[in-house]
Symmetry: C2
């Protein structure tokens, strides 16, 4: 069992939740996901380990994990709920519209402004989703790498 998974289950225990075999397995799968799987996808991975675990249980367990604050449930594309361990460092994405490549980035400045804007609108910012779409600049115009 991974380190992150142990954190998940120990927090669940602290929250008064019972630690069951399905929950251990689901914690493990969620903790080691570096993508943003939706629940059916998590279920597939879980079922590969223990096929007796039901889809309902995955839904319920993910909800429990989210309640502890250690997992985030986003509703990004096409209506699915996508899961992400809260532990990893936040980042946004830039999509190369020519190749479809995904570039990860982080801008503290933008993050700060987002919180500011939210507060001005009367909200506490809890999450955000920022995707930039761009066309690669001609090589000469790009910032040069270190020589």
């Amino acid at each position: 069992m991974s380190d992150a998974a142990e954190v998940l289950i120990s927090h669940c225990r602290q929250a008064g939740q019972r630690i069951t075999a399905p929950r251990r397995i689901i914690a493990d799968v969620v903790a080691k996901a570096d993508d943003h799987p939706d629940v059916p996808e998590i279920y597939r991975r879980v079922a590969a380990i223990d096929p007796s675990i039901s889809l309902s249980t995955v839904y319920r367990t993910v909800k429990v994990f989210a309640a502890t604050g250690l997992v985030e449930r986003h509703s990004f594309a096409g209506g699915r709920v996508q899961i992400e361990p809260t532990s990893q460092a936040h980042h946004d994405h830039l999509i190369d519209i020519e190749s479809g490549a995904v570039v990860e980035f982080r801008s503290d400045e933008i993050e700060r402004l987002q919180a500011l804007v939210a507060r001005e609108l009367g909200f506490e910012l809890t999450a955000h989703r920022l995707v930039l779409y761009g066309r690669p600049l001609a090589r000469k115009a790009r910032r040069a790498r270190k020589p």
Copy 2:
């Protein structure tokens, strides 16, 4: 028929689409929507005008409108597709995670930084999508109105 609705149907015609009675009505409903209705909601409004129009047709027509670029299909809350006429000036969205309400905002500062970040990554920014998720602040904590 509203002005904006006429723009919608004329663009459809230009795109080689046939102009039908259902499409006129749906265009009218979509054009005058100042909120961000999902398709079932649009269907309700359409059915109030002509109950013989089917839900399928609303889904299909909204898709056609989106293809012409005159309507945007967002996927904000819980998997629903929400609709908005493209005509209005650019803005981003903040979702009230408690009520699902959509608040529109615009931050030139954030826009500027996005372009900057993209350029630093070697891209020319062509589009972006920013959605903030927030919880309403308690009234006392909110920025006070002018006295």
